[in-house]
């Protein structure tokens, strides 16, 4: 598996074939399209996402504004694209941070064991008792609402998941004979971690991480929705939904309904990617749903 991956690393054609064999062609295309929309979209659709133009306020979708305009006359399409980029960046970064810290903590408590494992394990359980939303609310109060608080909340509440995956892998590796053999041959702890532990946990962590992105995007949007996430005028999907809410009962739906489709798309893609990866790495369903 590792060799195969190293061989195909710099060969796009070979990589694409591997993706196809894994049954992940569709979802990979979806990801590429989403990233293209988020990063190239604003270059094509050059309306400003923050330019206030009260004369154009609350206009229904038209050719000039395909997604309509909001209460300040800002172009909803431009804000939608800005929101896509923001969700992607904050979601992915916070999950990467959580995965990295979680892996370090998980391997430490797995290796050290005993009392440390017990205490840190309970602390991690304590964090698990907090949904990301609650943690985000508290952090938003503590350090001020914004992308940082939202991302931190997602990262902190995510850490236990990765720590658990890695810890259990460390514990099972410790019992394996080939690790004993390695140690008897004088292999250092570092060697065992790099050559055996990291390759063994990568799959599980990757699956967890792509499902984690889904969770992160939902949590960030939820914080934005209650007004504690990314602050205006920065375009953010959750906040856009709130801003357009008051117009909903009078039938002006586009301001709050359209951003929701963006969240739905990004979350769905992340879930599908995670599930496809899991099915590929582990066809017999050992990894948790």
């Amino acid at each position: 598996m590792t060799d195969h991956r190293e061989r195909s690393r710099w060969n796009p054609k070979e990589m694409w074939r591997a993706i196809d064999r894994a049954g992940m062609k569709g979802v990979t295309i979806a990801i590429i399209i989403f990233i293209a929309v988020a990063f190239l979209g604003p270059l094509v659709w050059t309306d400003s996402p923050t330019q206030v133009n009260l004369e154009d306020a609350v206009k229904a979708p038209s050719l000039a504004h395909p997604f309509g305009t909001d209460e300040y006359g800002r172009d909803v399409l431009a804000r939608f694209l800005g929101g896509a980029k923001l969700s992607l960046i904050v979601g992915v970064c916070s999950v990467l941070a959580a995965a990295l810290i979680g892996m370090v903590i998980g391997s430490i408590i797995g290796l050290v064991g005993g009392f440390t494992d017990g205490v840190i394990g309970r602390m991690l359980d304590g964090i698990l008792a907090f949904p990301a939303l609650i943690m985000g609310m508290a952090l938003a109060l503590a350090i001020g609402p914004g992308a940082l608080a939202a991302g931190l909340a997602v990262a902190i509440t995510g850490i236990p998941w990765y720590a658990r995956v890695v810890r259990s892998e460390v514990l099972s590796l410790r019992e394996r004979e080939f690790i004993d053999a390695e140690r008897a041959l004088g292999a250092s702890r570092r060697h065992i971690i790099i050559r055996h532990l990291i390759p063994a946990v990568t799959g599980g962590v990757a699956v967890q991480a792509s499902l984690g992105v889904a969770y992160a995007v939902l949590a960030i949007a939820a914080l934005g929705f209650i007004g504690l996430g990314v602050q205006p005028p920065t375009p953010e999907w959750g906040a856009m939904i709130t801003e357009g809410r008051t117009y909903l009962t009078s039938g002006q739906w586009w301001m709050s309904i359209i951003p929701g489709f963006g969240i739905l798309a990004l979350v769905t893609i992340s879930i599908l990617f995670g599930e496809a990866l899991r099915d590929h790495l582990d066809p017999h369903g050992k990894l948790h749903f």
Binding site: R122, M123, D125, G126, I127, L128, A129, F130, P131, L133, I134, M135, M137, A138, L139, A140, L141, A142, G144, S168, L171, A214, L218, A221, A222, F225, I226, G227, L228, G238, I241, R245, L248, T249, S250, G251, W253, S256, I257, P259, G260, I263, L264, A265, V267, T268, I271, L272, E275, G285, F289
Partner: protein, 337 residues
């Protein structure tokens, strides 16, 4: 068995301790001055300082924590500085609203998920495919947005749903208090109109809250049914000539339901967090709405109370599930991890 129970209870207490420390610290390190919030911007510095002393905000953090825990253990969750109502009283009046919403949401999701999961595990591929689409879309839909879509369709466009505010329409009085669940109380009092009105107000929020859960549970049910399908007694039932439908619903379904029921109980804690958003969308007078209002007003005590309530619910449900599994499956209570 006794040592297994002891260990699990001890672990739960430890988790609750850490949760309470986190809840306490997160809100104490926030920059806003609660005394200034209460007195307003015009109050003198001395008055603010005096109130800070009274509130105990000037004490060292460890002392504040000990005082705080002492109060909690006596059942005192503090007073909301915004409304001057004790948090405990406010929570007591609001818990039934959240509970009623949560119970309907869970019931709805189980009713949807179990047949869907069983059908998906059956032999027809297109059913499995569409149930998977439902599951992924259901999990990917932000609940607050789904609520708004439902309001748009059923209230604004079709005008068949009641206005998205509160538990009863104007002109209806709450039924005499027995359980606090309006639908149950209305039936007990024989007020059929009130019952249907309460039900109509519950419908959209319960769907909003229940649909993502239904999506999740339907996948669990599918896997669990597929596992049961491989067992011998299913083959026996088929050999005896039972129809495929009978095998599915009479033999496989009851046996596959257990994990779904456990998981839906565990999910109740998560529902509390979800209710925070859904209650905000539907103006539902439950715990969630209380929390979001308090957070925005930097009102410490209600937020802490609600966080502890959530953590407690989560821990107790987990503990209950663990102990139950320990009773059912001896391997669990002897394993080290």
């Amino acid at each position: 068995m006794a040592s297994f129970i002891f260990k699990r209870v001890l672990a739960t207490v430890a988790v609750l301790f850490f949760a309470s420390v986190i809840a306490f610290l997160l809100l104490r390190i926030s920059p806003g001055d609660p005394a200034r919030q209460v007195l307003g911007p015009q109050a003198s510095a001395q008055a603010v300082e005096k109130l800070r002393d009274q509130m105990g905000v000037n004490d060292p953090l460890p002392k504040q924590y000990v005082d705080y825990m002492g109060d909690i253990l006596q059942g005192d969750l503090g007073i909301s500085w915004r409304t001057r109502i004790p948090v405990k009283d406010e929570l007591t009046t609001r818990i039934p609203a959240t509970l009623e919403l949560g119970l309907y949401a869970i019931a709805l999701s189980i009713i949807l998920a179990i047949p869907l999961g069983v059908l998906a595990a059956g032999s027809r591929r297109w059913i499995d495919r569409s149930s998977r689409v439902f599951a992924v879309v259901g999990l990917g839909t932000p609940p607050f947005w789904l609520g708004l879509v439902l309001i748009l369709v059923f209230f604004t466009w079709l005008a068949i749903a009641p206005p998205p505010f509160g538990r009863l329409s104007e002109g209806y009085l709450p039924p005499p208090h027995v359980t606090g669940l309006y639908t149950v109380d209305a039936l007990l009092a024989g007020q059929i109109n009130t019952f249907f009105n309460a039900l109509a107000h519950l419908a959209l929020p319960a769907i909003t809250l229940g649909l993502p859960l239904a999506a999740y549970l339907s996948r669990i049910m599918r896997r669990s049914t597929a596992d049961v399908f491989r067992l011998d007694f299913i083959r026996t039932a088929r050999a005896k000539g039972a129809s495929e439908r009978r095998v599915m619903f009479r033999h496989a379904m009851p046996n596959a339901m257990l994990p779904v029921l456990t998981l839906s109980a565990l999910y109740f804690g998560e529902l509390l967090a979800g209710s925070l958003l859904v209650e905000a969308v539907f103006g539902w007078p439950g715990v969630g709405g209380y929390v979001s209002e308090s957070v925005l007003a930097q009102d410490y005590a209600p937020v802490q109370g609600a966080i502890l309530l959530g953590a407690l619910t989560y821990c107790l449900l987990n503990l209950g599930a663990d102990l139950l599994y320990g009773v059912v499956d001896p391997r669990i209570r002897t394993s080290k991890s």
